[in-house]
């Protein structure tokens, strides 16, 4: 028994001294000159989807800046008050600029931005901002439109499925743009929507796709974080439209017709540069093709070459600002006219979109 107590004493002394060391180490390291960059992800970068692409952007920034920055990542941060704790922890570790990549972080980030005026905050996919907090996103709906064209062309039945995460304006806008693209090629095409109520849940995402396939859809598109909906479609011999990353390459199948992709590094690098230079300014950034924030993956060989060219021509027009996705007469799927002939939708209308265009089977609420 005495030996035991002695052992315990030794262990606890060892723990206590190392604890003290660990504590002093963390406070020392905040003194050096590198800019500490905090990054908060809603899922793990291993999802091969949304957070994966954000991490690609982070890695691009790390490679670009080298020793000038130190990145601290936090993944799988829940979209609730834990986000505030994550931000506090990052600031405590010395971060001067913090990126967070999911919609529901925005209110928590705003709270923290007000408490910490000397830290720059970057929120992706929301609309809130502050003197020291920017929001940023890309005009992904343009790529959704193009991928919708391809889906409309390749669907034999004209029934396309779309696995959606949440009824937020971002997702709704993407579904609408996709549907308009599909209908531009095949006026009879319909897009059936199921909601999973989660950004990241491989099994729920798959279930959503399976239910759409059971309903007769032969192309599955998605606004989800993982490759599961696309995989489910391919396993059943259907086509898939990816999202975030190049699913054709990740899944290694030509049944992935195309993937609208993000290029976050092109936003993160200039922002980190501005933080280093002391020229950082708050903004609401909505980047498009001209900034190379968004792009299409290579299109599958199964899509006829002349049609691929048609799609690319539209993309060129988009880049030149001569083509608008939400232009002209628009009707919602309950028969109400939402926009008149010759009108162009404003950014703020797009950012608060809460209705489906004609051709979508499903409801926002």
């Amino acid at each position: 028994m005495k030996k035991l107590l002695a052992l315990l004493a030794i262990v606890s002394i060892a723990m206590a001294t190392t604890f003290a060391q660990g504590a002093s180490e963390t406070s020392d390291s905040s003194a050096d000159q590198t800019l500490k960059v905090g990054v908060i992800y809603v899922s793990a970068p291993g999802d091969f989807g949304y957070s994966y692409m954000h991490d690609q952007g982070t890695i691009a920034a790390e490679n670009y800046f080298g020793d000038k920055i130190e990145v601290i990542r936090m993944d799988n941060v829940p979209e609730n008050e834990e986000c505030e704790r994550a931000i506090e922890n990052l600031i405590d570790a010395g971060c001067k600029i913090i990126f967070a990549n999911s919609y529901n972080y925005q209110e928590y980030m705003l709270n923290e931005a007000k408490i910490h005026p000397d830290v720059y905050f970057e929120h992706c996919s929301g609309y809130l901002s502050n003197e020291n907090m920017s929001n940023y996103f890309g005009r992904m709906y343009q790529m959704r439109y193009l991928s919708g064209m391809i889906a409309g062309k390749m669907s034999a039945s004209g029934q396309i499925g779309y696995v959606g995460a949440f009824n937020t304006p971002e997702v709704v806008r993407g579904i609408n743009a996709f549907t308009l693209g599909a209908k531009a090629v095949n006026p009879d095409a319909t897009v059936r929507v199921v909601w999973t109520n989660t950004w990241f849940d491989p099994s729920l995402e798959r279930q959503g796709a399976v239910s759409l396939l059971d309903a007769g859809c032969d192309v599955i598109a998605q606004h989800q974080d993982t490759t599961e909906p696309a995989k489910a479609a391919i396993e059943r011999g259907a086509y898939a439209i990816g999202y975030n990353a190049d699913f054709g390459k990740i899944i290694d199948s030509d049944h992935v017709l195309v993937s609208p992709m993000w290029n976050w590094g092109n936003y993160m690098i200039p922002e980190i540069q501005a933080a280093l230079d002391g020229t950082w300014k708050s903004q609401s950034y909505w980047g498009g093709l001209d900034d190379d924030m968004i792009k299409l993956s290579p299109i599958s060989d199964l899509v006829p070459a002349d049609f691929q060219k048609e799609v690319m021509d539209i993309q060129t027009e988009m880049a030149a600002d001569t083509f608008d996705v939400f232009w002209g007469k628009l009707m919602d799927n309950e028969g109400t006219v939402r926009q008149m002939d010759g009108e162009k939708m404003s950014d703020s209308d797009m950012l608060s979109m809460n209705w489906f265009v004609d051709g979508v089977i499903g409801s926002v609420n």
Partner: protein
Amino acid sequence: MRLVLEKRNEKSKKMQILVPIFSLIISALLGAIVLLLTNANPIKTYATIIHGAFGSPTKIQYTLVKMLPLLMCGLSVGIAFRLKFWNIGAEGQYVMGVIGITWVMQFWTWLPPILVLPIALIMSFAFGGLWGGIPGALKAHWKVDETLVTLMMNYIAIGIAEYLYINAWKAPKGNMGTVKYPEYAWIGKMWGKVHYGIFIALILVAVLYFLLYKTRWGFELNMIGKNSEAARCQGVSIKRNIILAMILSGGIAGLGGGINSAAVTHCLTKGVDSGYGFTGILIAWMSNLNPILSIFISLFLAALQTGSDALQITMKLPSSMSEVLQGLILLPLLAGNIFIDHRLRIVEKKSTEALEE
């Protein structure tokens, strides 16, 4: 010669102290193996966890805030487990509590402001109590298996909550969630992030301790758990007690949800189902269903969760690693409990045979 586990006549006092200490050491060693495999220094990692949970006033505050819903769920489960009623539905009862409080906060605007918070908290207790009472009644009257019912009812509650904050009660702007509660009905902060809700929890611990250990009702509950036939012979109404205990159990989990919403989230929002109810099962188990011990166990588990954040920041380990570590730390603690009730004995072959005869 072989090893046998023998049931002790009574719980060993010595073991009750030694088991947690040894389990913790074994946990630390197991964790160290995994950490070494990932090229992380185990001692530094553990120091980081402790520092992450208690290293600064803000960190202590976050740990205490995190502890509160865990403690409430631990107390909730602890009551049901006394009757050997396997309530694994604290998660759903917690969520129902949040729905209850949100209902009052959003729609009972005709109430005088001073009454909103108390009535809202009572409603959270009532909603949680309903969600606990249903499986209680099903078990008491028709012997429906409570494990399945309480588990399934979690998902129903989470589904209802999602429907409410994504569709029916969705705020027109801002995060996915309902409109924020009126500010006069929030539970105030007393020290940084720490709010007054912690007093409600501590008072509840005292009340429960008295109720479960000092009253006839507490004695009856214990008796039902230990030997329900004997309890029946003594004239204890098993049906009534199961239902009452489950209403209390669910109500406390629901109240936990209510307090956390009124003090921290201020609305029904995404992340309402963050696993507090499931962790509550662990707390009840590790604290031996003792409300006072639950305080320390929930503090330990909260510290493990908040402290593990630091692994990502200081050690640059992914979040999944902290989950592995948390699991490894808990496993020996749970497994070790068997030595409180049992003793390990080396038995000579001959004497075993004699025993078997």
